[in-house]
């Protein structure tokens, strides 16, 4: 749904740009194309690996590890799992909801979700290309730290 809106907005913007300046619009498209070509190898590799990971990482398997009473160990495992993968939220959130139903605690689920969205070991190579090693690693480490902190707070509140 949102993708359709996105495409419509971009199409309209392109149209406006085209009428304002054909030349600039062509420049923009050329730039877009070259950026796309640069990005593609990284994304295809990522996609292939995530497909493999996700086919093994279904809800039953994860709930066995992160289930009820998995405690602090569960939190760390959730953290590890989430950090490695970067899953589309479309999959991650329903999975998290299922995990909760199957008995996982809010702590584990929160760490899982936070690290899934903010930390990516798999995307680290790509991030390093854009941001250099130092910054990329710092950001991910900080994200992990705050993920664990968040999970502690959520456990207290929920």
């Amino acid at each position: 749904m949102f993708t359709i809106i996105l495409y419509i907005i971009i199409a309209l913007t392109l149209l406006v740009s085209f009428f304002k300046s054909k030349e600039k619009t062509c420049q923009a498209l050329k730039y877009a194309f070259t950026s796309l070509i640069e990005l593609l190898p990284k994304l295809i590799g990522l996609f292939l690996i995530i497909t493999i990971l996700l086919s093994y990482l279904n809800t039953e398997f994860v709930s066995k590890i992160l289930g009820e009473n998995s405690g602090v160990l569960g939190v760390f495992i959730a953290c590890l799992l989430g950090s490695i993968v970067i899953i589309p939220t479309m999959i991650a959130y329903p999975m998290a909801a299922e995990l909760l139903k199957m008995g996982a605690g809010y702590a584990q689920v929160t760490v899982f979700i936070t690290t899934i969205t903010m930390v990516g070991l798999l995307t680290l190579p790509m991030e390093i290309e854009f941001f250099r090693k130092n910054i990329a690693i710092k950001r991910n480490v900080l994200a992990i730290f705050f993920a664990i902190l968040s999970s502690a707070v959520v456990t207290i509140i929920m």
Partner: protein, 176 residues
């Protein structure tokens, strides 16, 4: 020679993936069949947002002058700049790594280092599309709590990285 090393790095992940596929093919054929079957449309999502985002980057590159970017999110934009960065992040589409090229583009045009990290943080965890979905799957109360936590998280992370990275390093990013 340098170009070759670069190419190898670029394609090494794809190579690794293909090797894994081969291994799975031989060890667990059923799993292999499952993996390569189109069982999950959500992956199309990953690639489907790519063209529009690339076009957006192209358009921004061509139409948004450095002056405009600096006014919006640059050196002296202060809190207003950060709010702009945050709002831009919330309308993101796709996972965090989609934000990288956009963020770098903002940086090259003159946005501050701090602001682009706010932008990326918002994109990663507080996208509007994501929030709605989270409320649907996990409840409003949980989403709001996490929203607040994420917000604090984003601001603190951006601040910490901003202060702990040297000016030289920040400038070196723009030459990517």
């Amino acid at each position: 020679m340098k170009k070759m090393v670069y190419m190898i790095k670029e394609y090494s992940i794809i190579l690794l993936a293909l090797i894994l596929y081969l291994i799975i093919y031989f060890l667990d054929y059923d799993k292999f069949k499952f993996i390569i079957s189109p069982h999950d449309s959500s992956f199309l999502e990953m690639f489907i947002v790519l063209p529009p985002i690339m076009i957006l980057i192209g358009l921004i590159n061509v139409w948004v002058s450095k002056d405009l970017m600096i006014k919006l999110m640059g050196e002296n934009s202060g809190m207003k700049g950060s709010i702009v960065a945050f709002l831009l992040g919330t309308v993101g589409v796709g996972p965090l790594y989609m934000a990288f090229p956009v963020a770098i583009m903002f940086l090259e045009k003159g946005a501050t280092f701090f602001n682009i990290f706010i932008f990326m943080g918002a994109w990663a965890s507080i996208k509007v599309t994501q929030l709605l979905f989270e409320m649907q799957s996990l409840g409003v109360k949980y989403t709001l709590i996490r929203l607040l936590l994420n917000f604090i998280n984003i601001v603190l992370t951006a601040a910490i990285i901003n202060t702990s990275v040297s000016e030289n390093e920040k400038r070196s990013l723009s030459k990517t």
